[in-house]
């Protein structure tokens, strides 16, 4: 009996080793969103263009994208042309100008074009916190029943768009 007991540490170690092995190479930065399967959180934000107050009920019927961006975010420069392409092919995009200020954001849209149906100003970042945003750009897919079905961290581009498009129902 004692003989077998002495093997316990070894067996325990092998199990632990297996778990560690399985975890190697996984992307630890990726975090699934807690919002998936839920409706959007409540908000009241001012739009960038016309200073209108928007709440959840003012958003269009889905499916549409919510895109978090900011003029301070270098990756958003990279993402912007592709968003323009999407908009011209008829994909509705709601922009959230995240932790940014009005004048540079307006200037950005004038110079580079506006892919958004409406741009909401989230200057302090409260809406971003409610949405669980960890950085910009970040994009959410909201389906026709108003439920968040997908979250994409980082730039949306031609490579990952087909996958995201699957959720646009």
């Amino acid at each position: 009996m004692r003989k077998f007991l002495l093997f316990i540490p070894f067996v325990f170690f092998l199990v632990l080793g297996a778990v560690l092995y399985l975890q190697l190479g996984k992307d630890t930065q990726y975090m699934p969103s807690a919002l998936i399967g839920k409706t959007l959180p409540e908000f009241t934000l001012v739009s960038l263009q016309d200073d209108q107050v928007y709440s959840k009920d003012d958003l269009p019927v889905g499916p549409y994208l919510i895109n978090f961006w900011g003029t301070w975010c270098p990756a958003c420069h990279v993402e912007h042309p592709f968003l323009m392409e999407l908009a011209s092919s008829g994909v509705p995009i709601i922009g959230v100008d995240y932790k940014d200020q009005q004048p540079p954001a307006k200037q950005w849209l004038e110079q580079k074009g506006n892919p958004y149906q409406v741009v909401l100003m989230d200057e302090i970042g409260n809406f971003g916190v409610d949405m669980g945003v960890t950085g910009a750009p970040e994009t959410f897919v909201v389906d026709s029943s108003g439920v968040v079905v997908y979250r994409h961290q980082g730039v949306v581009n031609a490579v990952n768009w087909p996958n995201i498009k699957e959720y646009m129902k």
Binding site: L6, P9, F10, F13, G17, V19, L24, K26, T28, P32
Partner: protein, 645 residues
């Protein structure tokens, strides 16, 4: 030229490590003394070659040789000279070289002291250490050589050292921490050598004790420094975050604490023999696991080096060979161990057994919390993170219980203690402790947990003092001569236990009596936090060597009198385009004032965090006391005798 010399001497040292790992063992099995005696010179040559390699890399850093990829990534010509040197261990490759250097340093010290061991045991210990060195040297050479060159496209300047790491804390924290981590491989070497040679009597415990105590002291200092560094550098005002990598250093510490105590029992009474061996292996495995967690990218942490799965695989294989091999050896050989002595339920053995059980439970608690997200994810149950609430709620009660026993254990005698001895001292001191802690808690209006913790703290202090006084007042000689006669080992224990108490008091008071405010302030505004008035005097732009800084000036007043001027900064590092918060502190024995700049709001207003933290210094003061205790224990005269003497 220099980097090639470094690379070459590393390769040579790998061969010497290979010989060290095999030749003395062959000598042991064949009974060949000549081969056994080769262990010492092989160790010295291996260590010297590693040292050469380390010096060449330091030279590349100090001379701004950006043709070396690792230097180009981690240093910059504008960096002050001491950071150029410490940048060597600012990244994965260099810190691994530092690890190997420290490992070979420990090997050399063991080789130097080998005469205190029996003739056939010492070389086997060195041989096991040779295997460990072989593992780390091949890890360094095959996956992460710091000498890779950027030729012919040598960059003009380097990418700079991560600003977080440009700090005094970084110069000292990793080397000291590694001294502790790596030091436990010596205890591991002794344990495995004991298994190989079948020399499983109490004597191996006696040899391993000073080494374990010394590594434990270094690890204690390393963790203390790390906690202090996080407190003043990260700008969050906390001193411990249960971050996976903090846990990675804490687990070997807990296991090492258990090992220290269990070694004492094994040495003095010849019991727990097989358990002590297992603990030695366990402690070393946890150090290796720490290395794996930091360097493989399986967990996210502020400490993580750039993730690289191939490195992860390599350490995993290393773990499998070293830990798996030794556990297998243990399973096969420990059957032969029989404890010959029995012990009573009231003897010191029993108290130390309790200590070991509780410390092991604490270690497993932290291990489970750290690895739980991994296990959860591996079973495809989704992503979770385990944070402070879990650790605090599970860890605190067990740790408090451990400290209750910490006071009683030293009073007890080996084998059997008369109940009446305990009853009187313990009940009196418990009564005084609960009463006095109650008064403090009542006066300041703290809660129940604070009462409990402070009572435990007082109780340990009373009992430790009573124990010391009992020892020095017995007999006819005066107190001072008797006090000087007590062994260093005993004072080591006293210091370590009191250090634990000092830390406990710090931890309790910081958590129940800290005040924190997040404010929006412009120059000219003032705010009151916990009886201190903070005046935001001014804000100015300052240029540093490799950054520009917004430097604020705050004056703190206590009842109208200025007590401190604080300069919190927000630094922008130009090369890396990174912003760093430098919190300003006014340290005090009973309280710290802490001002940290947050984000710039509109106009001249800033988000400002102000903390008044009571007794926070005590946490680290306790760490220093514990370290002193460990060193005293390591330097006890008994360990310096020669084998058989």
């Amino acid at each position: 030229m220099f980097p090639e010399i470094g690379q070459f001497s590393l390769i040579l040292s790998l061969f010497f490590a290979l010989s060290l790992a095999s030749v003395p063992l062959i000598g042991y099995w064949r009974g060949n003394r000549l081969l056994l005696e080769a262990a010492r010179p092989l160790t010295f040559i291996m260590s010297a070659l590693v040292l050469v390699s380390f010096i060449t890399l330091s030279w590349s850093f100090l001379s701004d040789d950006f043709s070396v990829l690792y230097v180009a990534q981690n240093s910059n010509s504008q960096l002050p000279v001491w950071y150029k040197f410490s940048a060597l261990w600012g990244g994965h490759e260099g810190s691994l070289l530092l690890w190997v250097l420290i490992l070979s340093g420990w090997c050399s010290v063991v080789a130097f002291k080998i005469k205190t061991l029996p003739e056939d045991v010492g070389p086997v210990v060195l041989s096991v250490l040779g295997m460990v060195s072989l593992g780390f040297l091949s890890f360094l050479l095959f996956t992460s050589s710091p000498f890779a060159r950027l030729l012919p496209d040598t960059p003009v300047d380097g990418g700079d050292l991560n600003p977080l790491l440009q700090d005094f804390g970084l110069i000292v924290h990793p080397p000291v921490l590694y001294m502790g981590y790596v030091g436990f491989s010596v205890a591991f070497g002794f344990a495995v050598a004991a298994l190989i040679t079948g020399n499983l009597n109490a004597s191996w415990a006696r040899w391993a004790r000073p080494w374990t105590a010394a590594s434990w002291a270094f690890l204690t200092l390393g963790i203390t420094l790390g906690s202090w560094w996080a407190y003043y550098e990260l700008g969050w005002g906390g001193w411990w975050f249960w971050d996976p990598v903090e846990n990675a250093s804490f687990m070997p510490w807990l296991a090492g604490t258990a090992l220290l105590h269990s070694l004492a029992v094994t040495e003095k009474r010849g019991v727990f023999k097989s358990w002590t061996i297992l603990l030695a292996i366990f402690t070393f495995s946890l150090s290796l696991l720490g290395a794996f967690l930091v360097r493989s990218g399986v967990l996210t942490s502020v400490h993580s080096f750039a993730a690289d799965p191939t490195r992860g695989i390599f350490i995993l294989v290393l773990l499998l060979v070293l830990v798996g091999g030794s556990l297998l050896l243990y399973a096969v050989r420990a059957v032969e161990v029989r404890s010959s002595v029995s012990f009573g339920a009231s003897g010191r053995e029993a108290w130390l057994l309790l200590n070991n059980i509780l410390l092991t439970v604490l270690t497993l608690t932290v291990l489970l919390g750290t690895l739980y997200p991994l296990i959860f994810d591996a079973l495809n149950l989704g992503k979770i993170s385990v944070g402070a609430p879990y650790f605090n709620s599970v860890f605190t009660p067990i740790a408090l219980l451990l400290m209750v026993f910490m006071a009683v254990g030293p009073l007890s005698k080996w084998h059997h203690t008369k109940f009446s001895v305990f009853a009187k001292v313990c009940s009196t001191s418990a009564f005084i402790a609960i009463l006095s802690a109650g008064l403090v808690v009542y006066y300041y209006g703290f809660g129940f947990i604070a009462w409990l913790s402070l009572a435990v703290a007082f109780w340990v202090v009373f009992l430790s003092c009573a124990d010391w006084f009992g020892k020095v007042s017995a007999g006819t000689k005066g107190i001072i001569p008797r006090a000087r006669q007590l062994p260093r080992n005993y004072y080591g224990m006293l210091f370590a236990h009191l250090g634990m108490v000092v830390s406990l008091v710090g931890i309790v008071l910081v958590s129940v009596n800290s005040h924190e405010s997040m404010l929006r302030l412009s120059p000219g505004d003032n705010a009151t936090v916990a009886g201190y008035d903070f005046m935001f005097d001014s804000m100015e732009q300052v240029d540093g060597p490799n950054y520009v800084s917004n430097k604020g000036q705050f004056t703190a007043y206590k009842s109208g009198e200025a007590v401190a001027v604080l300069y919190p900064e927000k630094r922008f590092f130009t090369t890396r385009q990174q912003v760093m918060t430098e919190a300003a502190l006014d340290a005090g024995f009973t309280r710290d004032l802490y001002v940290s700049l947050g984000e710039r709001l509109d106009g001249s207003a800033w988000g400002v965090r102000i903390y008044v933290k009571s007794f926070v210094r005590w946490i680290w003061l306790g760490g220093l006391l514990m370290m002193a205790g460990g060193l005293l224990a390591a330097l006890d005269k008994r360990y310096r005798k020669r084998a058989g003497g």
